[in-house]
Symmetry: D2
Subunit: 358 residues, 4 copies
């Protein structure tokens, strides 16, 4: 039996990645793809990979107010922040489960949201019961959402952002196991491919700007900072510097964590072993052997996350590195993974497990 | 029910692409992957995309003489030329169907083979009954192989090369419909990504040589020339110049065909319409609207071929452009497509239909 | 002694390449850089390579009507077509020599201009005396312009386009030496880097569209077609298909010329030798040994053109390949080379002779 | 008057960049280029950018024992570590000034050298008087070397490594001004282009491995770690994680420094202002305005270093980012800059000040 789903904002990069996955998903039937900018155009003409593909190329974008959305079992919101504030309450009222890829319902504290995003939160009452969409670290949240859904009530899932996903999957086990020293900066230097900058054509996304270049951006003011701090429980300690590199898909987060005195003699092998126990049974997270490093090309196009670990004993620090595909595990894939769980399906259902080997 | 298969040469780029496809194929069970150079190593350590993937990462390369091969229903040969000459006869004798990705059984005339490859053909008697593996143009060949296979006899399929596949899919309908003038050069200028140069690390495949560079190579002496001429029936007329461009996967072939007087008034729209009839029912070939151009990024990772057509009336020429993924439709995907047909399955079975949209 | 110069359209890619070259030129003093869109901004803030560079970073863009322009010895027009029609007559009237990088004065026949560019030519009377700016093939034109300039009269130089430059340098010697058969298409398949698509940020120049992709564009309708035909004297015979590849700078043109019966036995070595005589004394053109191929990375950033030659005797065709940097020899570098000649300087003056080796 | 120079190891990437610069240098005459692997070959055939270039393409590589070397005024050693140990003493004995690009004479303490490089130092007596080749931070060293050279004695310059150069130019002013807290890790996350991995063709430098990929490497064990600690005086505190990104030239180092209580209220603007005073009169270092970020594409091909600064007050950290071209300011350009100083020339002499703007 297929559940019906829709995508609001399907013409953006995360949205079309959702379309790719949902069109091949055995349990979801894609009923509506919306884009105010591209309404009336066919999917195959906006994204030529779908041109001429039976059952996909001819799908036509409708506008965000498409009435079909309220008839779906679930709707994915692949929209900028504030647009989810506008759409989610109505869908939930109509009984539709909402899988939100935007930042609107991620931060538990509406005050933090307002400080970092510069706008008021218009439905803070929804924050309490929303599930945080990062299944490997917030399993209970999603289990509660699944129960709710099974009981006939719509659920709201706030999927984690791309940088917080890679960063937290790499750092959370260390934090939760008490390895991290109290006080002092936790440094997150991350590198993203250009799809992370979105579909908008501008001076920064021009091929001739991005090619053969690496640069930092939004230094000390990237909005994923409070989200990382919230997930890891490291308020005011995260120094997050994102970088842009010349590739399409891929995100690598290198996290340097000062070790607590009690963890001063931790070896990389012990860290790997503890991480593997932590992530046991989670098919998308792959903790590499000590001495191995994650590569973004090893996960691109898939929902996988690779994690590598090393210890610097002289400086007493753990280096935890996470690699994901920012559009898949960092956005669309994770959203479908969450939806699978909410609908009671195997979390792998319909999701690409392996990247192209070359 | 699953058929058992093996891959000889599974550590090369076409071989590992075969592994990727076959590991996800619902009707084939991958029993052996061989590589003399990497024997004893795990797939996941040679290609880290498979690291930690259940049922894949731990597969271990055996040597080319692995006895498991002769117990398989089919073996794919992803080896350089002459290595297939060495392997195919024995496998066929053992009753194993052989899907050969090398050049060894492509050319009908062993003399042509010997002239272009500089070695003697050691099993010319197999050429007569081999099927030419380009399903959209040689359907009868594969139907015969399927009958043979159904009757319990092993089949030999000689899959088309990457440049011949894109070039012929773009040009063959025009030739078969009699649009091409007699005499004069038919110019094939094609561009390939660097996976086309293979896994060997050398001065040409070094990142710092290939990046930010385009160049021609093997001008007037690329071995795919006689294969293109054979498929199209254009002996001695093809001027084939392959080029290398800085991308991983993707092959674009631009074919300029002089129009016969009888086709002088052909329009692009008429050409598109005739091509669509020609390829009706072939799910992987997508003929674009007049005015549209194929993109390699629209087919990369999939088994699709996009074709674009334009007419230059002043110079009386048809420009036919084909785009494929050289490792998929140009190698491993086409091989599996052929195997599907030989085993009586839907030709799409287990094959990626759509590229990543971004 | 320094001549004073200005650049109209200095914020585009060809314009800023002119700025780079002229700022380092020992005989030209850059007095004005104009850009209506960026007027008031500093060069170093629009192009951060100049940020903080003494004597360059603080140069401020003025508008196209900057009165300083009419006081210069020469003005370079790096503007789209029709904008040069608007600017050149006034500058010439003011006694300023004009080096035009646009297409406006390239085509000798205003009717051809109007047919391909869709606008009327408003100063066809200037076409007769303009010099065609491709020094290696139109030396007399530039000598006449130099005489004119020496005599105190302003000169107008219409610099060749990027594709015509690479194509004609590769093909013209063969045509002029009578090697090319009469009748039949002359096929020009060329590949350009993305700087060739200009500074405008749009769906095609977005990194995520251009990266890992090759495609043809403007098939059968690229406006450089009549320019190539004019230079080579091959009216109605050129089938020109430009392609876009994922690199910043670089243009490779592969020209396939049918050989005349009298040239049927030409060898590549003979062709190389004849080409070397043809280009003797021209420091920017480098004819490679037979068997060698030009690389765009070997000329990027420099004003050089590499040429490679091969002969296909079976199909009776010469393959002539030219590689240039589209922004340098294909635009700004060639413009400065022309200006050097017009001002009586060594043509190499101030121009980069060698690309980065890696 | 020209000084005579030679390059040992001229066929590697740093060596050929030296050749490029020295061939265009007005005060140095390149007498010998050596390469044991390519001895007998012409520069233009190994690096086709030089093919056909007058006075360069025909230069022939000799072996490392070329007797011409001992007749030069200075010799540049662009060799792997230990090879400089083998070559420098003899050259110095012959009265030749040595500009060493290897790591052999960088570390002041031979014990540290032996611990990190795994070999004994065979001429520790030379360490005391060698100048450390990072002119903006070790001006006195180079002044002393210049005096020595002016007095007729040969000098030994140990040029800084690529990561230490970018990292130290970004971090040293903060350290020297006392802004950095005592204790706790100083995190250096740096990104290098693939030229940093050298000319050797291997699995890591293969285009199809490096393209569309970012990864860390040599985590916690990169040999530039002790060099950074020595320059900055931060023994045992540097956590250095280098990353590889898909570009040819360029190195970006992001340094996160915990602020001392006395510097807790430092603003980015104050930091910029202090840095500009620190680097006053140094033409290659460009400290960007607060809010601006350095780009590797803004320095590639030039000897420039761009520095960007930001302050995270909540976590009390300074983020200092440096961008250089790893082959130029990170290797060959810096070596020539040092040689200029030692020979009493303007440090800019013969060096590229500005990157290609696009």
């Amino acid at each position: 039996m297929a559940y019906t789903v829709g995508i609001v904002g399907a013409a953006g990069y995360a949205g079309v990645e959702l379309a790719r996955i949902l069109l091949g998903h055995p349990d979801f039937e894609l009923r509506a793809i919306t884009s105010n900018a591209d309404a009336g155009q066919a999917l195959g003409s906006v994204y030529p990979a779908f041109a001429g593909v039976e059952g996909a190329g001819d799908l036509v974008f409708s506008t965000h107010d498409d009435p079909v959305l309220t008839t779906c079992d679930a709707v994915f919101l692949a929209v900028p922040h504030t647009a989810a504030l506008a759409a989610a309450p109505g869908l939930l009222d109509a009984g539709v489960t909402v899988i939100d890829l935007s930042a609107d319902y991620r931060l538990s504290d509406p005050g933090t949201y307002e400080r970092w995003y510069g706008v008021s939160h218009t439905s803070p009452e929804l924050l309490q019961d929303r599930a945080f969409g990062l299944p490997e670290l917030f399993a209970e949240d999603l289990d509660r959402a699944a129960e709710r859904h099974a009981a006939g009530a719509p659920a709201l899932v706030a999927c984690a952002g791309c940088f917080p996903t890679a960063t937290s999957l790499a750092a959370a086990p260390a934090v939760r196991m008490g390895w991290v020293a109290e006080g002092g900066p936790v440094v997150v230097d991350a590198i993203s491919g250009v799809t992370g900058a979105g579909k908008s054509a501008n001076a920064r996304t021009h091929y001739c700007s991005a090619d053969e270049n690496v640069e930092a951006y939004n230094v000390c003011r990237h909005r994923h900072t409070p989200e990382i701090e919230q997930i890891l429980g490291l308020d005011g300690r995260v120094v997050f510097t994102p970088h842009l590199a010349p590739l399409k898909r891929g995100l690598l987060s290198t996290v340097t964590l000062p070790l607590a005195p009690s963890a001063a003699s931790l070896t990389a092998e012990e860290a790997v072993s503890a991480y593997r126990s932590f992530y046991e049974g989670r098919p998308f997270v792959r903790v590499l052997d000590a001495g191995q490093v994650p590569k973004t090309s090893s996960v691109a196009g898939s929902n996988a996350c690779q994690i590598g670990l090393a210890v610097n004993h002289e400086a007493s620090a753990l280096i935890a590195i996470g690699a994901i595909d920012n559009l898949c595990k960092g956005a669309a894939g994770q959203a479908v993974q969450c939806a699978n769980i909410v609908f009671g399906l195997d979390e792998r259902r319909g999701l690409p497990l392996v990247a192209l080997p070359v």
